[in-house]
Symmetry: C2
Subunit: 348 residues, 2 copies
């Protein structure tokens, strides 16, 4: 390569990927060190869940998820001018909590697949998945009492996020059984199940490098709005995502009659398509292929897609506004902005 | 009552009951305050589990278990000359952990009854029981980061006990599926599933009132031996307990072909009865009434009962030896001794 080769500007997606990989590189040793302390019977199960091992205990190429949460913690710490290494316990803790909730949610939802592989409960049994989740949860809570000194506020922030996750999952299960769900109820579930932990990830990143409370809270608000955008994008992809990119069946949320945000928004819009969509969802028979295709059209017709996409843009804007209010330099701001763009515009 | 009425000396059982009630009186408000912070959907389920409410949310006469663990924490704190109120977060934390593990274990074991009432999963569903357990676990871990200031060593002790509980439950489930279990393996499960948390209860009680590390560790050893005695008594009662007193079906552990300590000891004794007992357990048909009666005789014949009872006595002795080594006054020693006697000699 010649010195005068023109280098294209790094795209925001590339920057986000690069930072997510860098964060994963920082936090993975901490995660592995934690998992290494687990009991012999639980360790291989957790290692399988993280994608570090196959079912027979052989190492695999790591497929352990996007680590968006760890990346947020690391980037928030760096945006505060701090040393990312100080934020690693926080990044590890949020990933442990995220994975505890995946393990337990998969049990409750009886989901068979996660990250393209059989879920832990379907492979090792429900007790193994419950206990593996329990131990991840407990060790996450202990992450701030290690050698680095106690940081009780951090433990408290994490536990509050866990309480929100649990409340959100409880509400989600209750709403799935109900015929009518308001948009507010559905949005609260998204806030509890997704946004709360992303808020926590950012709060921890800032706080662990010594940012003042007000600054940490603002980073937390950034994370919260990003979390809402993240979940809303998930909901859009659950209907219109390309199976070749998402790895999920086409229109999977409609096949499962999931009351995701676009569906609930459409049902409450009172516009053409609402009533027909309600009837399709009320049918006690399973959703057919034709039904799901029609439901997707109806959600769009009734404005559910447009509403959700405008909400994604609104939350992305509110997230960016938090960064603006923090008065960051362009260099501090760029990685977080790139992550926000990646979240809002991703295809999987 | 006349002033000159001769008061009989309080029996050790009465003293143990009185102290357990007193501990329950101290810790219950802290438990209720914690549960009051829970989400609307989870709170009534946890309140039902603790025996504070019936399934329709009406208050009930408290039937929330013996609170042996909370009593140990309080009594250890007092035996150190400390103020019991300082140990209340520790007592509450161990009760939260104990109840988290009951909620999750009942899901895994598919047990239908707990404290004479339907288990949470059988009444409210598996997801409710998993989530209620998760939130108890998380809040227990946060108990030492509250207003009283962080006590990271206490959080760490608690989380280590949780890790042992999880490892013990995992091992227990694995051993249940195996044809042969060594006595050492079965004893390790008892240590992890029961003794670890009783050790933690005592360590916390001493540590929270500022006892030196060596003293806390010795109180922990007291709790550990008491925990072993507690579990071994449970195992004896699971075979020979009086259903009218235990509230469990007669010979329930034998009906379930549970590999409890007396059974495993009998199977490995190589004495008359061992082989016939092994054959009864190996039979793929469910245990009959006659089979269970015969199995109880065989466990006794093969020395499983005698071995277990001598172990109970040995652990009680080792527990008392810890108290002796602490050089406590008679007044400091008596309540813990009474609890040890109660545990070793209880009928339910």
């Amino acid at each position: 390569m010649h010195a005068d080769t023109v280098q294209p500007l790094e795209s925001s997606v590339d920057l986000a990927h690069r930072n997510a990989s860098r964060a994963a590189g920082l936090v993975t040793p901490a995660l592995r060190a934690t998992v290494d302390t687990f009991d012999n019977r639980i360790r291989p199960i957790v290692a399988y869940h993280f994608g570090w091992m196959d079912t027979s205990g052989r190492p695999t190429a790591n497929s352990g998820g996007k680590m968006i949460r760890a990346a947020l913690t690391i980037l928030a710490a760096e945006a505060c001018g701090g040393d990312a290494r100080q934020a690693v316990p926080g990044a590890a803790a949020v990933e442990l909590v995220h994975n505890f909730s995946l393990l337990h949610d998969d049990v409750m939802d009886r989901d068979l697949e996660r990250r393209g592989r059989p879920t832990v409960w379907s492979k090792f049994g429900t007790p193994a998945a419950i206990l593996a989740g329990d131990i991840l949860l407990a060790r996450a809570c202990g992450m701030f009492d290690e050698a680095s000194g106690h940081q009780g506020w951090a433990t408290k922030a994490l536990i509050d996020a866990i309480a929100e996750l649990a409340a959100g999952q409880m509400a989600d299960l209750a709403l799935e059984r109900r015929a009518t769900v308001t948009l507010e109820e559905a949005l609260t579930v998204s806030e509890q199940k997704t946004a709360a932990l992303l808020r926590c990830a950012c709060t921890l990143g800032a706080g662990l490098v010594g940012a003042p409370d007000g600054t940490s809270r603002r980073f937390g608000a950034f994370g919260m709005h990003l979390g809402m955008a993240f979940q809303l994008v998930d909901d859009v992809l659950g209907i219109w995502g390309d199976p070749a990119v998402t790895g999920k069946p086409v229109r999977s949320d409609l096949h499962n009659k999931k009351k995701s945000i676009p569906v609930v928004a459409a049902l409450h819009s009172g516009r053409p398509g609402s009533a027909e969509l309600a009837a399709l969802y009320a049918d006690t028979d399973p959703m057919t292929e034709d039904g799901a295709r029609r439901a997707a059209e109806l959600v769009e017709l009734a404005g559910g897609r447009a509403w959700t996409e405008s909400e994604i843009e609104r939350h992305r804007g509110l997230a960016v506004a938090q960064l603006d209010a923090l008065g960051l330099t362009e260099a501090q701001r760029a990685p977080l902005l790139a992550l926000a763009d990646y979240v809002a515009f991703r295809k999987h």
